[in-house]
């Protein structure tokens, strides 16, 4: 299984196509995350899905799904940037909600501020309409193997 994932990470890195890698991660399939590779950059995309709704009256994306999407984005960004087949393990995660995440497509971009031998620090920004008006920002530490 680990060798298979290794192969998929290499493939994704080379081709810019992350579908096969994502298909192996059940939680990624559940929320429906997609990855766009623009040159060297990665943009993560969470298409609107009624199963991801929290508040039914607004209606709004569940804050936990938004956070999960951001954590998963950070994890994938680290895996690709390290070209590593092993899954980074979450140490802590902190999210600030800035605006209501409405039931729209959501996007995220990650910034790896530090990638040491043991720990990685990643900042994540998520937006819906304009990247300069984020719906949430987050920061995560991962244990790297």
């Amino acid at each position: 299984m680990s060798e298979h994932i290794d192969e998929l990470v290499h493939q994704a890195h080379q081709t810019g196509n992350y579908e096969a890698l994502i298909a192996e991660i059940p939680y990624a399939r559940l929320i429906g995350i997609q990855v766009m590779r623009l040159g060297e950059e990665m943009i993560f995309h969470l298409p609107m899905d009624k199963d991801n709704i929290g508040n039914p009256i607004l209606p709004a994306l569940h804050g936990g799904v938004l956070a999960g999407f951001m954590e998963l984005s950070a994890m994938l960004q680290l895996m690709v940037s390290m070209n590593s087949p092993s899954f980074p393990k979450i140490i802590d995660f902190s999210v600030d909600y800035l605006r209501a995440g409405l039931s729209r497509d959501t996007y995220a971009r990650c910034q790896i501020w530090r990638q040491g031998r043991r720990v990685g620090n990643v900042a994540i920004t998520a937006w819906q309409t304009r990247s300069e008006e984020p719906v949430a920002t987050a920061r995560a530490h991962f244990k790297l193997d």
């Binding site: 939680y27 990624a28 199963d51 709704i53 039914p56 569940h62 936990g64 998963l72 802590d92 999210v95």
Partner: protein
Amino acid sequence: MNIKQRAESFLSVLRHCQVLGMTVEQADESGLIIKLPYSEYIVGNPVSGVVHGGAITTLMDTCCGISTVCYLDEFEICPTLDLRIDYMHPAEPGKPIYGFAECYRVTPTIIFTRGVAYQERREDPLAHVVGVFMRMGPAPDGQQLFQLGGRV
């Protein structure tokens, strides 16, 4: 409605929580416990079978958010301002995860909550959580939310 019924009613309208199969285990003046059953859909690491942090964040955001009904007289919509989760150890695959949350300070504008995620014992948590929520005042659509809840 008693506290547990209010919590159940709230949880029942949150679509994504229903998708994950979350249920209210306990709700009273001392806090709220919600159960997240294990399922293969929420696995984040296909090699180990460990649940993704996102599902635990969803459990704890929901649990901290709904724990406000244990302390407020009227239903209020309380959006999350921020949430922080510290992982003590990974969740054991195959077992349900429980979230416990309590409000430790309620002001006219802000509610401070804290809690833990655990599997066997609350004294041995897999994660510690703090979350801060904003009070928007009694919501005119709060009643609507409960009525919606009654229909689901």
